[in-house]
């Protein structure tokens, strides 16, 4: 399940994986990490329940934590990249200690920094994020590299959990066409809050 060499040898395309994960999403709330994961989530369908990050590298999982702690009745999924998650490794300890039952972290892992020229990331150099999350105490940790497994994760993600989940999707390092969401963070915030029926200032 977990490859000895970190560099992705998967045949799974990132767009297909994220589209599958967000199929029939219901009232799922989505936070996407900067770079390709934000494009992947946008390509799967622009929704008011999406919050796209364009910066603040290392923040995605923790934005998800704050949201999950505020909305206990909703399922929250963070979709981010290996490089983005690597910048917030300590956050995995924070999330595991906080132990939200409605938060899933999904790392789209191509082992590379796609935005800066496909240089190898630490996961491309044998660091296994799933093992780190497991060591922190995430309730459900899996690494997958096929679409049928992603489909299974999607079903799991909508079920109740005993604690936070951490899924690594090993994907190909192919360059895909960008699908750019809006960059106005205030617009995204107001749209998201309006979607939840919250006041918008």
């Amino acid at each position: 399940m977990v490859s000895d060499i970190g560099e992705a040898q998967s045949a799974l395309g990132r767009r297909d994986a994220v589209a599958e994960l967000l199929q029939q999403r219901g009232d799922l709330l989505v936070v996407s990490g900067l770079g390709s994961p934000s494009y992947d989530v946008h390509a799967a369908g622009d929704e008011a329940g999406n919050y796209y990050l364009w910066g603040a590298m290392g923040s995605a999982a923790l934005v998800g934590l704050g949201l999950a702690q505020a909305c206990r009745q909703r399922k929250v999924v963070v979709i981010t990249g290996d490089g983005e998650q690597l910048m917030g490794l300590g956050g995995l300890a924070t999330i595991a200690v906080a132990r939200p039952k409605n938060l899933t972290i999904v790392v789209i892992d191509n082992g590379r920094y796609g935005e800066t020229g496909m240089q190898l990331s630490h996961t491309g150099l044998r660091i296994d994020l799933a093992r780190i999350a497991a060591a922190c105490g995430f309730a459900d940790v899996r690494t997958v590299d096929t679409l049928s497994e992603v489909s299974q994760l999607r079903r799991t993600m909508h079920q109740d959990a005993t604690g936070p989940r951490f899924f690594v999707l090993k994907v190909t390092a192919d360059v895909v066409e960008r699908s750019l969401p809006f960059r106005d963070a205030v617009h995204g915030k107001n749209r998201f809050r309006a979607h939840l029926g919250l006041p918008v200032s």
Binding site: V31, A56, M57, G66, Q69, G91, T94, A98
Partner: protein, 170 residues
């Protein structure tokens, strides 16, 4: 426990202001406030490995409808700078309570550089600093900062002078 009655007043005010989440890195100056929040079952307390995590949590909390407060020491401000982009560019309400080190009867020289840089760094990235040097002024400052944050969508750091915290006893 420190004899800091202002912690109780700040706690009471933040509760009345509707704060639902608090995030912190353990700190002697904030010890009593942290204990008060931890003992409160209506508040979600999140202990952080590093302070910038709290900036992200505050943004997420606001997206989901929760008001939050972030507690840290001045050394932690240096860890937060790029993450503050999120609060500033998204105009996310942000209330940080920062206890100062390195400025008053400090014995540890390693605390001095970041102590000197704290307000400059926060100002440079777009966070408003409001300094208090006495308990009465602090409570009023927190009250004002909370309103600026939660109602005017501002990013505010209340700077708590080291003189008020007192000398660290060894």
């Amino acid at each position: 426990m420190l004899e800091c009655h202002w912690s109780v007043e700040i706690y009471n005010h933040l509760k009345a202001a509707g704060v639902r989440q608090v995030a912190y890195v353990p700190d002697a100056g904030h010890a009593q406030l942290i204990e008060l929040f931890q003992a409160d079952r209506d508040i979600v307390s999140t202990v952080l490995t590093t302070e910038e995590e709290g900036i992200a949590i505050a943004a997420g909390a606001w997206l989901g409808g929760d008001r939050s407060v972030l507690l840290m020491q001045s050394s932690g401000v240096g860890n937060c700078i790029n993450m503050l982009s999120l609060a500033v560019i998204g105009r996310f309400p942000l209330l940080m309570l920062v206890t100062m080190r390195g400025e008053w009867a400090e014995f540890n020289p390693w605390q001095v550089p970041m102590g000197l840089a704290t307000e400059t760094c926060l100002g440079a990235v777009g966070v408003r600093c409001m300094r208090a040097e006495a308990p009465e002024a602090l409570v009023e400052t927190v009250r004002s900062a909370a309103k600026l944050a939660y109602e005017a969508d501002q990013q505010v750091a209340v700077i708590i002078g080291q003189r008020m915290i007192g000398e660290k006893k060894w």
